[in-house]
Every structure is written in C-alpha cells, then in structure tokens.
Symmetry: D2
Subunit: 350 residues, 4 copies
C-alpha cells in the first residue's frame, strides 16, 4: 500500500509498505479524511528524534477494514473516528486516570511516534474497542476528524483549567488547539473569554468560537490588557496553547491567586520552562500549573461526536485548505511555512 512517511529527519516521501495486520485486540482502518497537525511537521523536523520510514499523521477517520479476534464493538465497514492518542487502557497510568501517559510519559501517543501513523491506505489501531468510536450518521467525516485531536485537546485544556460558571479565562494563541480551547472555555460556561492573538483570521475565528475579547499582543501589552479587562484581578484560568516561555510566563502573571494555569502547548525548546517567581507568589500563591495530552478513548470520542451531532460545535470553520492524499506533501509544506493563512489542511483519501 501507499504510505506517506518520514524517511529521516527533514525528508518525506510516499513509499510502498506492507498492509498492517490486526492482532487480537486491534483493528485495521482505511482512512477517508485526515488532518495535518503542526506536530507532524515538527516530527519531520526532528522534534522527537530520528525515525526511519515511519508513516506520518495521527488525525483520521475512516472505515474499518478488519478486526482482531477479541473485538466486540466494531466490524468491517463501520465508519469510525480513531483517537490521535490510543492508550493502553489496562496500564497503571490509565488505571490512575492518566491514560495518555500509559506506560511512560506521553505513552498513549503512538501514531507516527512509536508506530506507523494514519497517512496511508490503511492503518493499525491498538485496543480498537477502546480507542475508536462510531460516527453518527448525521456527522460528516470532515467534522468528525476534528474530534480525534483538536477538539479533544483544546476542550481538555479548558476542562483541566477548572473554569467556574461565569469565570474569566485567557487563552494564549489561537491556532487550532487554542481555538478549540477558546470554544472549550465557552462550553464550560465561562463569563469572559479573552483570546490572545494577532492574526486577523484567527482573531475572527476566536470570536466565532466564543471569545468575548481579543487581545492583540502586537498592539497592546498583553498582561496589562488582560489585567485591565479583569478589573485588575487577573483571570480565574489561563490556557497556554502555544508552547513558548514568553506566553507561559504571561499565563502565570495574569492568573489570580488561587487560579489555574492549564498548559496544552508543546514546549519544544530550551532546557527550562520558566515560572516567574514573584508572579507565582514565591511558590505559595496557589496558582496551580496543570498539563494534559489529548484525552483519547471511545467514551471521549463519543461525547465529542455528540456535540457535533447536536450541532453545538462546528469545527469545520478551521478547515482552510483541502488536499487529495496524493498531494499531501503540499499540505505539509504549507503547514511548515504557515503561509496562506493556513489553520488546518484537510486530507481526502477517497
């Protein structure tokens, strides 16, 4: 079969691979729609180290091709969404409420990390009963593919932020994860959602997804602006959706004592992530710092699909570009340069 792979750091190609086979607990899925993630591009760039001919991609929906002997919930022909994170549900970490960390840090992240990803004619799903969900008939593949990562990750950041009804939230950076964090904050009943973003298209989408205020850091001093918007009190919760030391620091500065900093950004550089000591109350201001990695699992996927089915979220507004699978390399190039106002490029496998 054809697979879009990372041949080595910096090099991608479409190559021929053997079709995957399902062990007892697994399924093989033929993707219909996929989305390219910025982290895919980082992977090609070497962010997680060298890989040889690993198939790329972790966001996809498709049709079940075959299932293992122990699979009870799915059969060939089923239309399914597959979590970007596919935990080992029996692992101690999963039993402890942290499935995304199964067996090791970030251990639930398998696609295009420790095994082949989804950008191929077929892909393999471990613990398929637990890691896939049926797509309701009223939900399109294009919408459904957003539950696999973007919605789960962004909403998860908002959930971990423990936002009270009527509370105040600042979301730093409005890429697709940040936009879904903004939507997640709105879904939790926040009273005021402040989006930090400078790109007009993203500002506009932030408002579409529920931002009450947009702070453009190229025009105002971000921390001052947020403190002003909150009558000098700071926010109940700040969500870091960029993965930079600068915004992480601002998150701590704008969060009120007793508030929560929810980090969902991938911090890709530097030896340390810096907590500003004074703003952190010298370690005693009860500004908790929490992190999360895209919650996976059938239950989670079904809950997110329900939101789509009931028309409560429209993630497809983030689809800025569309490519056939044969042109996937163009999507990666664009995602790398972030040109043309790209947010999410959709890959069509049909």
């Amino acid at each position: 079969m054809q697979a879009y792979v990372m041949r080595s750091i910096g090099e991608t190609d479409v190559i021929e691979k053997d079709e995957p086979e399902a062990g007892p607990n697994d399924a093989i899925v033929r993707p219909t729609k996929g989305l390219v993630c910025t982290s895919d591009v980082h992977t090609v760039g070497g962010a997680i180290g060298e890989r040889e001919d690993i198939t790329l991609g972790h966001e996809a929906v498709g049709v079940v091709e075959s299932v293992g002997s122990e699979i009870e919930q799915f059969e060939p022909g089923d239309r399914v969404a597959v979590g970007a994170i596919t935990p080992d549900w029996g692992s101690p970490a999963a039993q402890d409420g942290h499935p995304s960390q199964s067996n090791e840090a970030l251990g639930g992240w398998k696609f295009a990390n420790v095994k082949d990803g989804v950008f191929a004619e077929f892909f393999h799903v471990n613990e398929a009963d637990a890691n896939m969900a049926h797509i309701p008939s009223g939900v399109s593949d294009e919408a459904a593919v957003y539950v696999t990562d973007m919605m789960s990750t962004g909403f998860g950041a908002a959930e971990r932020a423990d936002i009270p009804i009527g509370g105040t939230v600042a979301v730093f950076a409005q890429g697709p994860v940040g936009l879904m964090a903004t939507k997640g904050a709105a879904l939790r009943g926040a009273g005021q959602v402040i989006a930090v973003e400078s790109v007009p298209k993203r500002q506009e989408l932030a408002e579409f997804y529920g931002a009450d205020e947009v702070v453009d850091y190229t025009e105002v001093e971000t921390v001052d602006a947020i403190m002003d918007l909150t009558d000098g009190e700071g926010v109940d919760a700040a969500i870091e959706a960029l993965g930079s030391n600068a915004t992480f620091k601002q998150c701590i500065e704008v969060t009120k004592p007793g508030g929560v900093i929810s980090n969902v950004g991938y911090h890709g550089e530097g030896e340390f992530v810096d907590i500003p000591r004074d703003a952190w109350g010298v370690g005693m201001a009860e500004k908790d710092i929490v992190t999360s990695l895209c919650p996976g699992g059938r239950l989670r996927l079904r809950r997110l699909l329900r939101l789509l089915d009931e028309g409560k979220v429209d993630p497809t507004r983030m689809t800025t570009h569309r490519f056939d699978f044969e042109d996937i390399d163009e999507a990666f190039q664009l995602m790398d340069t972030k040109e043309e106002g790209i947010i999410k490029p959709l890959i069509d496998f049909s």
Copy 2:
C-alpha cells in the same frame, strides 16, 4: 416602614415595622425589584413552622441605604444584588466549603426564615461585604434579581452534577429552578440535555434555555423515554428540581452506573426520600447522590452578573407577571394556585 409579612401560618399582611439598623458588618438595602419564590408560599403555608410577623421574601436587588462601620466594599447609593443565601463566612461549615450550611443545616438561609426578608421598604444584610455585589451598569434590575436565587440555585445543581463536556443530562421539572438547571447544563457543555416537563409553556422555555429533548411524562413513560434517548445507557447526570419521591426515584433509575444524581428540589413531605434499591445497584453502582442549597456570596453573584453583562443568559424570559409592591399579595395568591401559566412574578418596589 411598610413590610409584607407572614402574620402566622396561612396569614399574610402588609404591616408597619421599624426600619432595620446596620451592625458593624451589615448593610441596609432599599429594594427596587424582587421575585416571589414558591418557597415563600410554602413558608406561609407552614413548611418551616410557625413565624410571627416575619417579613417575607428572599430574592431582591436594590440600592444601599446605609452601611456598618466595618463595610469596605459598598456605600450608600450603590446598586446591588443580594444573595438569597447570606452565609456566615467565618463559620466552620463555610471554611469547609459549605457556606450555605453555616452553623447548621441550611444555616445560610436567613431571609424570611430566621430574620426578616426582603419584601419591605428596607431590609438588612448580614456580612454585607461578602453577601452583596455591585450590579454592572449594563445589567437591568429585572435581570439582576435572577442571580440572587434562581440562576445560582439552578446553575449550582448543574455544577454539582459534574457534567462532562459532551455528556448527557436529564433535568426533572422545568419550574424556574429546573429551567436554570437546564441552562446550567447547557452552560457546562452537555452534549444532550433532556428536560422532563408536561406544561407547554415550560417545555418551550426549556428549549429556549438549552434542552435538546423534552420528555412529557403525561405522554410517555419517563424512564423508558430517557433510556431510549441515551441508547439504553442512561444519563451521566440527573437533576431533581421538583422535590418529589417519584422524580427522585426516576433520577436514580435513568442515571448510568458511575453517574451523579444532583438533587436541588426541596423535599417537603414524607418521612423518607426513597432510593430504589435495585436501580441504585444495591448500594454499589457508584451512583452518587449530591445536594446543594443556592450558593451565595459576592464572588458567586459577580460571576453570574458577568454572564448577564456579556449577554450569555437571559433570565427575564421567566418573568411571566409583574406587580407593584402594594399588590404583592396577588402575586403570592397566583404563585400558590400556579394559575395563568405563572413562572416568576416580578415585584416592583419603585
């Protein structure tokens, strides 16, 4: 001053009373708008026992008339919302996270219970810095008065129900508290909100406030209908907003194992509230039963007022009738008979 009082069980009147005075931590407020609560009518009927000439009412907004020596946040002339529940914030129960239970069960409920209520020319607020909030200029008195009880109580029921994003919720009875529980469930990001109600006007409001489905118990068997709507699984959370054994029982029946029953209904009759043993999994199905009494406090009030100020909730759709203070007895009569499709009668003190 004029006060609308319960002279004794079953008897109300407007009488002349001395104006209240503020102790060091108190404030005196002149009400501008109030709402009659079904519990006021129950009080007159004897639900909490005999009272003599106690001023009725606990839902009001108004203008600060005077403040005690220790008050720092308010001054005469300020436009304020006052919580229906006015806890003693230094009490052990409040320190334990249960301010509504300060000093005794339901101890935060003082108005028209252990001291004069708000249906008078002036009323007294204990721990005023902690129990009032300024009303934003963009929020009307009529909207603001809903934060004092209905929104706080109904939303509180939804918050205690611990609804996951995309989860399923059933709300039993769509009186004003139930309607606000429905809205609260929607605000928490529920994927499917099922409202149980038979009165057309209330069904319509339930949909306005976020119900995805309405179950009319006069037309279908409620439990079966909810199980069908949830593919036989039951809901993640059920909210009891009526206070009857029948609906409480149904709440436990429709909640999935591991789910939450959030009771906010006042159970006014019978020696026992009945948990159906089998549906409760013989005491081992992890169907938790939680209860709450209207969260009060400045922080809470401000968060709810923020939702009004940002236009995220419009509670005034529940105002079905309007009365001048001098006609308040009519409002009570109507609230008692529940005629004319009454939901909430607004009292105008101007």
Copy 3:
C-alpha cells in the same frame, strides 16, 4: 479439576470440571490461599439469582499456571494477587473512572457471578496484565489475599468518604469490610474514628485497626452517642458497612451538613433504601451519599501490597479460622451461621 460450586440455590458441592483455558489477554492461576466472603454465602442463598454449577469464591492469591499470547507482565510460576473485581479496562465506564461498573452496574464483578470463581484447582483471569499484581517476596500469601477484596473495599470506602486530616468518622459495623474501613479512616489521618459494633471480638479488632471510640448499639442510642462524641456537631463522614436500612438512616443522621455518607454495605433487602428526609436537610444540606464497589486493578493491588510490605497494615488479625480446600464446605457453613466468632476463614489450597 476439582471445583467447589453452587449447584443451584442453596446447594453446594465439590465437582469435577474442565480446566479453564486462557484467551489472548487472560491468565490461568492456581490458587494457594483464599478467603470466604459473606457475599459468597449470600450468593449460595440466592442473592444474585439462580446459578448452575458455578465455581464459588472471588478472593484468592496463587501462582500463574499459563498466560495468553498478549500477556506481557506475567509468566508461569509468578506469585500473584488477583483482584476480586476484574474490570474491562477499555470499557466506557472504566474510561470514565468507574472500572468496577464496566459495561453494566457492578460489571467488574465477574468471579462467581458471571463466570467461575476462584475456589478450584485453577481459575481464569480476564485482562490479566491489568487485573493481577506480583506479590512482593516479603509478603505472605495469607496477608496478600486480603488485598484482593477486604482491604481494597474497606479502604475504598474511606477514600470515597473524603476524610480530611483530623476529621471525624463513624464506621457502622465492624465485619471485615467495616474493620478495613476503620483502618482506612485511620490511614487517611482521621482525628477521631468511631466504630459502631456490639460484638466484643470485633470491638477489640476495631481498636486494633484504629478506632478511637467504640459505640455499642446494644448499650447506648447510637445517634445520640455519636453526636455526644462530636460535641453535637456530627461527623465529617459516615461509612455504612452493613447494608441495612437502619444503619443507613443513622449514617445520615450523624453526618454533619456538608459531610459525606460513604456506603459500602450491600443492601440485600427491600424495595427502597430510606433517606430520612429531615436529617437529610430536605434535600439541601449537602450531605452527599456516595457508593463504591471494591476497586480493582494492578495499580491498586500493588499499592495495597506495598502497605503490607512496609508493615503498615496487618490484615491477618482478621483470620479467625483456617481450612484446607477439601474442607471448604465447613467454612461456608460457619460463615453462614457466623458462629465461633468467625470473621474471615482462610482456605489453604496446598
């Protein structure tokens, strides 16, 4: 192989059965030590309905005989503890934090319920990687077998009771689960643990396991006694470890507003479990009622085994009788009549 079975309601026997075989995710274990549970006796009595030739028993440790193709953590010859509850870890309920409810209410309870139990020469363990744990070399089989149910269940009740450091707890009934709930309360740092019990031997064990006070309900009025012991305030948490309407009612009466009633007793009779309406604050006193079913899983088992390995708990004081497997029927008889001060009879399979 020989198996001790329930032939039908009220009838037990040792019969010959085929040895179980391991599917891909399973293991076959040869038990070395087991414990008879009161629920085993109830099962024989018909509590969960008719069964035909089902092997009894759910508390056992042993040696791995064989493993399925997907098993990574264990190999034949390993000395293991097996949870009485063996959840399906990929099920939605488990993903939701309720593994004991996997797939249906109490669905994690499989041994001697929906499949053969452990009182045989060999028994079958589903999802063995997730549902067994190695026994540390310093821990005896006799001690280890207590982690499979009694410690996990009793401690779990204490954990769900959400006891604050220095808080007050009442534990109703000091059978083996109640004793372990008492120990669990002590382990959570309770300031005052009140055990309700009338049998001298159990009172003595309650004190051994951490009770600060013992209330003998045959000598004093239980509720009054507990209120006196807590200066009239009631306890932060009450644990129901009997499964009777009478003690459940008392639990609610002695719990302070804002406190927790943690039910771990199996309620075997009656249509309803009764909540006393007034003591429950008419449904608004924030007295939460939570329930649980023995937490299972490798992580849980390992944590409990660690307590044994470090000498922090000695459950073997509850072993009042010992029987060889061939005499297991005597153990059941004694457990039924509760004669001879029996608490737990140990079964030796060697």
Copy 4:
C-alpha cells in the same frame, strides 16, 4: 507593653508599644508560648522589604485578653491557638476556596507582614471567631503552638499532593515544614515515604515522623536513588519543602507522569523557578505543580488540635531549644546561623 520588633532591615530590638485594641470582629491575645520560624529571620533580613518597628512572629498560643462586640465564640480567659495565617473569610478568594490568598497573593498572611506579629505581651487577631480555636484541656501549649503553622503547612502540602492510599511520596528537605510534610504523607496512608535530608538529627526525626527511606543527597545522587527506590517508576507525589531551584527541579524529575509536585517551600531567590522541560514531558506529561500557603481557620485548627488530643502526632520532638521571651533575640540568632542542630526554638512568655 514590650514587643520584639524589626526596627528596620537587619535590626531587631525589644521596644515599648501601645497595647492593641480590638475592633468589633477582633480579639486581643496574651501569648503564652511561641515558636520562631525561619521566615521570621528572613523577614528581618529583608525578604519582604523594609518594615519599621513591626512586631515579629506569627506562631503563638495564648489566653484571650479581650474581644470585640461581634465575637461569639470566645471570651477573656479562653486558652486559644491562633492561626499564623488569618484570612478575611468573606473575601472573594476565600469564597473561592483560597482563604490564604484573601484580597491579594498571600493576603491571609498578616502577622509581622502587614500588621504587628505575636512576639509581644499582647497581640491582635482579626476575624477572631474564624481565626482562633480553643485548645483542648489535654493538649499542652507547647504542642498546640505547632498547629498554628508547622503542622498546618506541612500537612497541607501532603494533602495538596493528593497521595493515594499506598502511594509513593518523596519529601525534599526535613526542616520543620518538611518533617510535618513527611508526617502528613504518613497520615494520608502513603505506602512509601522517602525523605531527602543530609543532617543526621533531621534524618532521625524524619524516620520518627514516618519516613520509610531516607536519601542523603551528600552520599548518593538523589534522583537516581529515588528512581531506584520506586523500581524506576518515580513517585506519585513529590513535596518541595526547601524553596530552591535545585530541589524543585528534582521534584519534577522524580515524579511519575500523572503525578503531583506539591510546592510548599518559599522560593526566595532568582527571577525564575525552573521547570526542567524534558522531565516535565514538554508540557504534556500531566505532572501537575500545585502550591499552598498554610491553611488557617478555626475548623482547620480544631482538626489539628484533635490529632494532638488523640495522641496521633507529637510535634514537640521538633522543639530543640527553649527561651524566655526576654531572651528571644538569642533564638533569632540561632535560627539565623542554624547552629546547635536547631529545628524549632520555643519561646516562653510566662
């Protein structure tokens, strides 16, 4: 009256001051026993900036001298413990569950910070009903004074660490707060408590208070040692009780994915507190970082006093030195140099 004050940075003296007076919600207390805290010495050294003639000290018990008009719980002559942190219980932060942050970061910390402390013949207590507790007759003043800060702070760190029964914990540094965090971990039912400390006397006390293992960082590599002790998995929770970048970094390194780092150390230096990026799972390993400031309040004090009254904790083993009030300057000198194996110097005011 005589008061031991900080005249300015680096200068202390006993001076004559006017006796404090009680406002409506206040009490005046005559201290009987006090403890010097390392933070007192830091304050004199300028850690919180310049102060002029502020009375030092925040850990004391004593006898009520007078009370304000609104005080209901106490009267002159009562023997009381006073929290080191005396929150404004009606403040929004307290209403939000963060009383120690009332009105501003660390705003509950008033003694010797924003008002006179306790090292004087008399001291003033704000919101006295909420911030003091009666000392049970069976508890000595010397024991009781430890609840005001050391026990509450150390235990609080353990509580925030969310330690499961049987879980693993590492406590970095065994000064008095670290020792009480070690005891707190033991009180929560930890399965393995690892204390990091090099001073023999403190190692010995750590074992007395519940450490199962002691890691001497002068002899072994701390992180390696802790990973070895936990079979390479890392701990469920790490408690930072020193306030240094080096130990904070180690805390993150030894905590397993999904675990908690509970910071209770005062970070006194540097612009940033450094999170090691890789060990933190690039911001996605769900290693939460939480902080706390000594929980105060009557309820908290009573719960801790109950532990003393029941004989469950003996904090007096930390009293290494005793001084009369007139010799308090010697205690400060010794606390500064940390000579003579000092842990806590007790001040006797009689």
